[in-house]
Amino acid sequence: MAVRDILVHPSPCLKQVAEAVTEFDQALQQLLSDLEDTLAVAPGCVGIAAPQIGVSRRVVITDVRKAKGSCHGRLVLVNPEIIRHEGMARGREGCLSVPDFTGNVMRAEEVVVQARDSAGRQQSFEFSGFEARVVQHEIDHLEGLLFLDRLVSRRHDLFRRKVYRDGGRVRNT
């Protein structure tokens, strides 16, 4: 059991592109265990990414059961990649790494994600709605992006549109 400190902006680790996991070894299991313990004690929090505890690896855990009924439950996503996305919706987000601030962000409404599990097995998931938003927020952490990088205008629904390419990287349109 190890609850780790959550890094907050402007920690450099949060702005780095995280490295892919290649070894599904004991060190990875320890990282997953730490992430899980840290997520468990964060009130109302539905996801966590390894860079948030200072480990620049492509590992996230999502668990929207605290907030929502229908979903995949607790999920470990190692080296996750968004391979398809559809729709765009505005929603409000906050982040443990950015205390006392919430803001509106556009996210794809549906995403198909490929990822490895804790043992390295390739898996594919379809996410929609709230859970899709959580997964995109976490994958952003692996790209060195915070939701602050995607805030949309408070005044209007018009927004600086950043859309997903395969792999979750962004481009401006």
Binding site: G91, R92, E138
Partner: protein, 174 residues
């Protein structure tokens, strides 16, 4: 000693450079800025700005006096408690639009307040043309008596020709 904060309110005919000139003058005077809203409303530029400043209200006024003169602004300064780092997170968003006429805001917000709404943020625009203006308003707030109660209040508005839509804001923390 607690930091002294002021709320600086400014308004003037919109022109390029107001924000940069005002904030440069404040920075030169040793001020630190807090939260702000600044917007062009019609042809006017408006500023509501939290300013931390060790001196008196009078000293702050004189610090910005040159830019107030050169930019032809009206200014008002109040001493405030900052209360930073205690954001309230809205749980409901309401959009309202309709053919512009006097009384829409009063009517809608009175009904919503009675139904338990605490408004955190309100923005409105007059769209359309001079001949056919359309009033557009967006509100974010806290529904202290639940969303159903607000929806019931809005349903009455809809019967009177004001289009409204209400959606719950679910804030994702990750």
């Amino acid at each position: 000693m607690a930091k002294k904060w002021y709320m600086l309110t400014m308004v003037g005919k919109d022109r390029s450079g107001i924000v940069s000139h005002v904030t440069a003058a404040l920075y030169d005077g040793g001020c630190n800025l807090g939260e702000a809203t600044m917007a062009r409303l019609g042809g006017n530029f408006t500023i509501m700005l939290m300013v931390q400043f060790d001196g008196s209200r009078r000293a702050l006024m004189s610090q910005i006096e040159p830019v107030v003169q050169s930019m032809d602004l009206h200014v008002h300064v109040d001493s405030i408690n900052a209360e930073l780092h205690h954001h309230l997170v809205p749980d409901v968003r309401i959009s309202v639009y309709g053919a512009d006429r006097a009384g829409i805001v009063a009517q809608v917000t009175t009904a919503l307040t009675e139904a338990g709404l605490n408004i955190l943020d309100l923005e409105s625009d007059v769209a359309g043309t001079e001949q056919q203006p359309v009033y557009v308003m967006s509100i974010e707030g806290l529904a202290s008596e639940g969303i159903a109660s607000l929806q019931a209040a809005l349903d009455i508005m809809s019967a009177e020709g004001i289009e409204t839509s209400l959606s719950a804001i679910e804030t994702m923390l990750a």
